[in-house]
Symmetry: C2
Subunit: 410 residues, 2 copies
């Protein structure tokens, strides 16, 4: 039985980008523009600058006028070309968003972002309904954390995963050349997907990372120190992947715990009371110091270093997964096409429909399925408290694509 | 008038890699092998594992047996395929090196490395002369620091420079999207060449880095804080490139100075009494903290983040300059060819003989010209205490090659 179709709204569209940038978020932006452009129902396609902030401050550009050559260049540029925002709309802020939509006759709202952004999208959707302003709201996923519900994976993740894998491939060779203990801290407050991507660097015998710590499993410092020493004794070296979000069994982030234990304090907290995890080398330094002390107790003089991969993971120019770029563009286009097919709104998720050959489908789900929720790694991918299962490679490899072939005599 | 040629020695050769790895040091290794292989004067071509340590511990492999396909794979692999070492040979150590050379009838010694390695090469050369062991010693330059005397530039530098440029291109876009103050700390204890490479990311109006600090100029914290605040007031954001080797006017590294001032202490020192600069996020964190305090005094709440690019700069798999790779291979081959042409030894430097088109020549210079000396940036490239001259772009761009084209609406 055919469903009755709601009337196709006529008016303008607006697109915003929100949260942390990724290497392919501009592909999604351009995908939405390409999907909308030229359709008779859509007049102007606004680009709101710095997320919804552009709507409350009346700062936007007209994307339908941008030549295709520039759109292609934008699509291939990392980071958010419209600018981003971490604003959390309160009721007064929301009123101004709605006033903007009314003023500019906006009937289609596209928000490209992670779980916070999908929640903003949901709030705007509800607000429009309350205000009686006919508008369809679409969320286009983006996050290097890969932590959105109802998705097989999210645009932005695979490119960051590729960066992490290439970093570990090189750094493990560096550690083979000059053996010692090396810690690399990887982004991810609650989900370990990006840290787990370091597994892709492990291809030959004794390749690192030899230990992988994700936020899904409680971190025990004594166990960690014993594991590092065991690997070091075995191989004469040890490469460790640590998520910035690792936490104590009581739920406190280890960065906070170690900072207090080492009497250093003074960490920044954000508006939500979260300790700042990125943009500091502190966690890696604390762990390196703890290993140094522990090894010294055993009279071992060992070369111990820590790197924090930092913002390069999401912004490095020139390390994009082709599959990721293609899917990010397709997600944006699919959201636009859904809107123009009369859909009432939703989040445009990616579903895997086959592994050999790898194939995905784009599926619109209700905003409430995704909004403000966090997906964690499936327990089947977690091995004890310090490793990731080989089956995760099968999940991730098709998304990342080819990695550099390497070889060494040591 | 023709010079009388010394007799071409017949025997075996040995190759070692030393110091910090680079993305192209294996190209030089393979270049030496390709240059020597098949010549009637040379029997075996040993690869000494972990620098000269492989000679004192009798650990080497026979490189003449390695198939070309594997050599090519090795050449394209970052880091030192033979392993590396930071050992400083003392007299007893030197005796064991000579014993190894005598035992294995080694007549050609090739050492691929930086200034410390060229000094080791010089010592081995003197030692052989003293011992009456006929052997020719060749140094093949490698260093991401680009700080070898008598060279226009050194293999390894351009690939690391490319990594730094791509990091800043992406990170500056990230900072445009989510404005704030961002510090990126770059490797280089005494020379600022790698930090100065961040200049390549500055291509459009207001592109970062907006401030660049190198070890060649004394660092003044008060001036730094004032400069950062000025840029931030102007642009609403500020991206800063800082060399890990920046130091106070009294010569003390700023990391040591700030560590003491903030009463944190506890930094590692190496055997030479140098404070450990790499493998810690401390300098970036101290500078971020100092900016935070300074801005708070002016009642400004600003997003301040610091990343330390770390070992990725020299080891990242998949970010190599094609010119660098080609020149590294050619340097190794040129050293081998010089040896087989009867040269008595030396360091195989790169000289630029043209800029349009870019062209280089390989020239053997005495080991003592390079050994244990440090080249600094030409003062003509330094602008005040916080910037690099545009003329440096002309010097660097041909070495790095194409960089990603980017575009943004903000």
């Amino acid at each position: 039985m055919a469903k009755s179709r709601p009337e196709l709204l006529r008016g303008n569209a607006i697109i915003g980008q929100s949260g942390g940038p990724t290497a392919v978020i501009n592909q999604s932006l351009v995908g939405v523009v390409e999907g909308l452009r030229g359709h008779k129902a859509v007049g102007k396609i606004f680009g709101s600058l710095h997320g919804v902030r552009g709507m409350v401050s009346d700062q936007s550009i007209e994307l339908q006028k941008v030549p295709q050559a520039r759109l292609n260049r934008i699509a291939n540029t990392p980071s958010s070309a419209l600018g981003s925002s971490r604003d959390k709309p309160d009721p007064a802020y929301c009123q101004r968003i709605m006033a903007h939509c009314a003023k500019y006759d906006i009937r289609y709202f596209f928000y490209i972002g992670g779980n916070d952004s999908s929640d903003t999208c949901r709030i705007v959707d509800e607000l429009a309904k309350q205000a009686g302003h006919a508008m369809r709201c679409f969320h286009v996923p983006k996050t290097i954390d890969n932590d959105l519900m109802s998705n097989d994976h999210t645009p932005g993740y695979a490119s960051a995963a590729k960066f992490v894998a290439q970093a570990f491939i090189g750094d493990d060779l560096d550690n083979r050349a000059l053996p010692g203990i090396k810690i690399n801290v990887i982004m991810g407050r609650h989900a370990g997907f990006l840290t787990a991507a370091s597994l892709l660097a492990r291809r030959r015998k004794n390749d690192g990372p030899h230990l992988i710590y994700v936020p899904e499993v409680a971190f025990n410092l004594e166990k960690f120190l014993a594991d590092v020493e065991r690997i070091y004794t075995d191989l004469g070296r040890c490469v460790i992947a640590v998520s910035e979000g690792i936490h104590h069994s009581d739920g406190t982030p280890m960065l906070e715990k170690l900072s207090a234990a080492m009497d250093k304090g003074g960490l920044d907290k954000d508006a939500h009371g979260n300790v700042q995890l990125s943009g500091t080398g502190a966690l890696g330094d604390y762990l390196a110091e703890a290993i140094k002390k522990s090894m010294a107790r055993h009279q071992k003089k060992v070369r111990i270093r820590a790197d924090t991969l930092g913002y390069l993971q999401r912004s490095f120019a020139g390390c994009t997964s082709p599959v990721d770029a293609k899917e990010a563009r397709a997600s944006g286009k699919a959201a636009a096409k859904a809107a123009l097919a009369g859909s009432l709104g939703g989040s445009m998720t990616i579903q895997r429909v086959g592994n050999s050959p790898y194939k995905v489908a784009y599926k619109l789900v209700p905003l409430t399925d995704v909004a403000a929720k966090t997906r964690h790694m499936d327990p089947k991918f977690l091995v004890g408290d310090n490793d990731i299962a080989e089956s995760f490679r099968k999940y991730l490899a098709p998304l990342v694509g080819d990695l550099p072939e390497v070889d060494s005599f040591v």
